[in-house]
């Protein structure tokens, strides 16, 4: 026996995971709004009331799936980032963007769960915020590093319209939290790029490109490079 781990605890951990997995499987069939405790129980050969020993309510199960999805996406992006030489900021940017899309395409229903239409009557609890922040944190970290080593155009970013006061205040909070030291104009462009990255992936995933740009591999790749230019990330010299 492992130190202090009773058979009961082990069984509980296993079953909790089995329920999560079955529920994740259900997403594909039904969509997030129709996740059903009874269907999950059926799939793992349990009686529906037994599930309530593990998740006291349907919403708690939903929350667990949301946290899992954010973490899986965050981990995928961080892994992609780590696979590129740190000073190759444009390469990191590109890798992270493509990791987001690859994960989304590979897990469309989990992606839909976190970035799709809000589930009616569901309120995401506070502890989803941390996992949700992993991707923007990784993106901003790369930009911040780029600024510090001169791989991001700073002076040039000051062209364009003046930043309104309200927006400036919002940016100050973001900069303080995830990108200390990054000039406002650069951070603003990074924030816009972040929004548009996910917007683009969502747009594609929900079928809005079908009939025109779908399949969108090349379209997406071109967009990502254009976003990098927008942020002012220089191409890496040695590549």
């Amino acid at each position: 026996m492992n130190a202090g781990v009773t058979a009961r605890e082990l069984a509980r951990a296993n079953l909790t995971q089995a329920i999560r997995d079955a529920a994740r499987g259900q997403l594909a069939v039904q969509g997030a709004g129709h996740l059903s405790v009874r269907a999950v129980a059926r799939e793992i050969g349990m009686v529906s009331s037994a599930v309530y020993r593990y998740f006291p309510t349907r919403d708690d199960l939903l929350t667990a799936l949301i946290v899992d999805a954010y973490n899986a996406l965050g981990a995928a992006v961080e892994r992609a980032d780590a696979g590129v030489e740190p000073d190759d900021v444009r390469g990191r940017w590109r890798a992270m963007c493509h990791a987001v899309r690859a994960w989304a395409v590979g897990h469309p229903h989990e992606y839909g769960l976190i970035f799709g239409s809000p589930v009616p009557d569901y309120r995401a609890p506070q502890h989803t915020v941390g996992p949700a922040a992993r991707v923007p944190i990784a993106l901003f970290a790369a930009v911040q590093h780029g600024v510090s080593i001169g791989a991001v155009l700073v002076a040039d970013s000051s062209r364009g319209p003046a930043v309104p006061a309200a927006l400036s205040a919002q940016m100050a909070v973001v900069i303080a939290e995830v990108a200390p030291g990054v000039p406002e104009t650069v951070a603003l462009r990074a924030a816009i790029a972040w929004t548009q990255l996910f917007g683009m992936v969502t747009f594609e995933l929900f079928g809005q490109l079908v009939g025109t740009m779908d399949p969108a591999d090349d379209f997406f790749a071109t967009s990502v490079d254009l976003l990098a230019e927008l942020v002012g990330i220089r191409p890496h010299p040695t590549r």
Copy 2:
């Protein structure tokens, strides 16, 4: 009596509209996936089976709402476009982008119906395609006009990476359909801007900016201008 319009036909037209309206109202409460024929019937004081005289199935009702939503959005954008002097292409671009967002904010559930997570087991029939195309058609028409009067940078757009063959073929179709005569590089940038416009609105509407850039008025306005720059739309001289 109006020529050939019987009381029965009139009553039918009225009730069909009343059902559409009630269903639209239901969207706000329930979300698209939970649209319920019985709830709609209840709201207009009808027995649920009576609704089937007007829409033979739940999906037909959904389709009607989708078509209505696309048309309402399309009309709003076309109206915004028409309110700007034709040669002020940047002004038109800006007006249309803001019209999209304004409509989305004003009709979040209808917007979610057409741009949100696909409703499980629902397939959009062919005749939703026309209404769905109104916004991209209007956007491309402005860009096309801009190219023809020199309000869009053409030469400068040829910087950036070469367009891969598959993407080039897709763009050729789009150009032939909605922007004849527009150079590939410009059309590609316009397509990217179109994608990102909706992506950004969707991202905001589904609550992804809450806690950072929300309320996003200034953020959106800045993004729209940046997208205009990306497409290469020159600021209008007289403005």
